[in-house]
């Protein structure tokens, strides 16, 4: 219908004309990259750590640890023999930030497995973990050698196993690793949550604008309230699709040139958890389908919230229950990632309010029966129908109301009488 088309067009054109849209379009990838990379950067503690090994142990333990640590690009290590006053002067160095910290090594390391690290930052998991691993490796080698085991055998025994994980999808083994699946699922979860919330609230403020300026009265004298709501949701939806296209293209460009950015940075190996995932057509389709499903479901609710409120402040309060539904779905994503086939995960991916986030996350994280996907989609579609029906009735009454927000009882009456 031509009038619905005009509403869609207005929503679309007016939105992409705003500065805000283009800021989002340009900063979106930066934001998501930050969400992605920041945990890795923070966990690694960043930069090279200058460390001193205070060696009070017999034999070559201290020297071997120093050598091994210096073999890693993350550490620059100097070994000093233990003397009186050395701890005090090193503490002063740490205070003055000339030193990251120092490791006190005594015979206890080999005998009872105890060593001490003093530093300005002892919560950097990656640093502490690397120290622990290195010390443990050297100490256990020394212990074996003291028992008379051939150093060659010790060295061979210590070759670690690297478990290569490959995902089976559609009867074929893909080249995707577990780490990639994880990061893809994580990434999709974040984008879905952010985008559904963002564009849902866009629909709400658009409804609210027409209501508070009273222009809605002229509009609903020319087209049915449902047509107006439909046009609005579709228009904002079109904007979101454009936003995704821009993000997709810029992500492609960034990834294609990623080597250029990476060589400029630290040469160290990237954190294995955050690898660039491979996105195939089916995954993209699942993502877009559930995004649209979630968007229609939530924006209908947000439209109803906008219609029953008379001001921004009121709307901000009234939208909380709707937002919480989304937040809960988002937070439970981490549980789903932990075990994508658990009853918890399956339930969430069937409940329509959490399915738009839960299902794509499960899809990305592991193999998924097509029947479950179909069932989840069917329930979601039915829910969109039902929720839209209720929301449209609230919308129709609400857009003409002024004064205080309706309570639950009045709302039920609106739905019944509209």
């Amino acid at each position: 219908m031509r009038k619905v088309w005009a509403v869609i067009r207005r929503e679309f054109v007016e939105r992409i004309r705003t500065r805000w849209f283009w800021i989002m379009a340009l900063l979106g990838p930066v934001f998501f990259a930050a969400v992605f990379v920041l945990p890795a950067v923070l966990a690694s503690g960043g930069g090279v750590r200058r460390i001193v090994v205070v060696d009070a142990a017999r034999g070559s333990v201290g020297a071997r640890i120093t050598q091994l640590l210096n073999g890693s690009p993350a550490f620059r290590v100097v070994r000093v023999p233990a003397r009186g006053g050395v701890v005090d002067s090193l503490t002063a160095e740490v205070e003055q930030k000339r030193l990251g910290g120092f490791l006190i090594l005594t015979d206890a390391a080999v005998d009872s497995g105890k060593a001490e690290y003093r530093g300005s930052n002892i919560s950097g998991f990656a640093t502490i973990g690397a120290l622990e691993r290195t010390i443990g490796e050297v100490v256990s080698a020394v212990r074996l050698e003291r028992e008379g085991v051939d150093p060659g055998i010790v060295a061979r025994a210590r070759i670690p196993v690297q478990l290569e994980t490959k995902r089976i999808a559609g009867g074929k083994t893909t080249g995707e690793t577990a780490a990639q699946s994880f990061s893809l699922a994580y990434f999709m979860g974040i984008i879905l949550y952010t985008a559904i919330l963002l564009y849902g609230i866009n629909v709400m403020s658009s409804v609210l604008e027409e209501k508070t300026t009273r222009i809605v009265e002229v509009l609903v004298s020319s087209l049915r309230p449902f047509q107006l709501m439909l046009g609005k949701v579709l228009g904002v939806g079109a904007v979101s699709i454009l936003q995704f296209l821009i993000w997709g293209v810029s992500a492609r460009i960034l990834l294609a040139n990623r080597s250029r950015f990476l060589t400029a940075g630290e040469p160290g190996e990237p954190d294995p958890i955050f690898q660039v995932p491979h996105v195939n057509g089916a995954t993209a389709a699942v993502f877009i389908t559930y995004f649209l499903g979630g968007f229609f479901l939530y924006s209908a609710m947000f439209a109803a919230v906008g219609a029953m409120s008379s001001s921004e402040q009121e709307a901000r309060q009234a939208q909380q229950p709707v937002s919480w539904l989304l937040v809960v779905s988002f937070v439970s994503m981490f549980g789903i990632l932990n075990d994508p086939a658990s009853t918890f995960a399956v339930t969430l991916s069937l409940v329509p309010f959490s399915a738009p986030i839960a299902m794509p996350v499960r899809w990305a994280a592991g193999n998924l029966p097509v029947s479950e996907l179909a069932l989840s989609l069917a329930i979601l579609l039915a829910a969109i129908g039902g929720v839209t029906w209720v929301a449209a009735r609230i919308y129709r009454v609400g857009i003409l109301m002024t004064g205080k927000r309706p309570n639950l009882k009045e709302l039920v009456r609106w739905i019944r009488t509209a």
């Binding site: 604008e209 508070t212 009273r214 087209l223």
Partner: protein
């Protein structure tokens, strides 16, 4: 009005047949029937809270009546189906604040069912005509309130509708725009359009309306041609002006054989004659009472007077408006 009156069409352009609307525990419009002939200026009059806006919203399909029927252009459907032939100006008017003036007008034109190109041409022509041409690419919120009001008129007339429905069109207008509005209404009337407007200001209605309907508390009190209403409900009225001294005029006014009702302002009074009373006798009595008269005029009642007589002082008070 000097404009040629088009021959009244046999079928009314708008008919309400016992239309009712109830809100939670309160009847806003109660079995209201009226009929608006083609080509007239029709006034829907009533105090605040009488149900005017609710009635108009039902005509426009914004609200569904709980009972009764609305017929527009002879068809048993409300205004929405005919929105391309109806110009509607609601009482509370607004525009998209952040859109450009021309874009808003084109969009609202599209809402009325005309295509973008025509909407744009007409919007440009109207903006030119009302002196807003240099503002066409500015955002609405850059315009003064008066200019925004003009943009709202344009939006109402853009699609050249046959029927205009204006809810309190003069409320909130500055004097210049009130003049523009009045001229526009008269111009449309001379081009054979029908205008229905609501107001609680009787002086305006008296000057503009040919036909009218007075409602209070959702019920019709009277409707018909202005002249007929004045003849039936006006009674005989005397307007008296004093020139300083009133003498014993108040005693004359108190004579129930002569005067049935009096509205005394001190230096000015409106009297309603008792049935069978002779105005000449009143004149004589006033002169002998020592009053100095500057004016003695036999006149039909003002619409305002008829309105207050019909509505009563209680209903004339503003009421709470659950619908607005």
């Amino acid at each position: 009005m000097t404009s040629p009156s088009p021959s009244p069409s046999p079928s009314p352009i708008l008919i309400l047949d016992r239309v009712s609307k109830r809100f939670a525990g309160h009847t806003a419009v109660d079995e209201l029937s009226l009929s608006v002939p083609r080509g007239v200026i029709y006034g829907l009059l009533g105090p605040n809270g009488a149900g005017k806006t609710t009635t108009i919203r039902m005509i426009m399909n914004i609200l569904e009546p709980d009972g009764g029927a609305v017929r527009v252009f002879g068809e048993p459907s409300g205004g929405r189906v005919h929105s391309e032939r109806i110009g509607y100006l609601p009482e509370e008017r607004g525009l998209y604040r952040k859109m450009r003036v021309l874009d808003v007008l084109v969009f609202l034109g599209e809402m009325k069912g005309i295509d973008r190109r025509r909407a744009r041409q007409r919007a440009e022509a109207w903006l030119e005509r009302l002196g807003l041409a240099q503002w066409r690419l500015r955002r609405v919120d850059a315009l003064s309130k008066g200019m925004q009001q003009k943009v709202q008129f344009i939006a109402t007339m853009l699609h050249d509708p046959d029927l205009l429905i204006l809810d309190e069109p003069f409320s909130g207008l500055d004097p210049v725009n009130a003049q523009v509005m009045k001229d526009t209404v008269l111009d449309l009337r001379s081009r054979g359009k029908t205008i229905l407007f609501s107001t609680h200001i009787m002086e305006q209605a008296e000057k503009l309306c040919e036909q009218l309907c007075i409602i209070a508390r959702g019920k019709k009190l009277v409707d018909g041609a202005l002249g007929d209403i004045k003849r039936t409900h006006g009674g005989h009225h005397l307007v008296i002006g004093f020139d300083g001294s009133l003498g014993a005029a108040t005693q004359v006014f108190a004579d129930k054989d002569l005067v049935s009702k009096v509205d005394n302002y001190g230096q000015y009074a409106e009297l309603e004659l008792a049935s069978g009373a002779d105005p000449q006798q009143i004149l004589q009595r006033l002169v002998t009472s020592g009053a100095r008269l500057s004016k003695f005029e036999l006149r039909e009642a003002s619409l305002n007077k008829i309105f207050i007589d019909l509505v009563g002082p209680d209903a004339a008070r503003a009421e709470a408006r659950p619908d607005a």
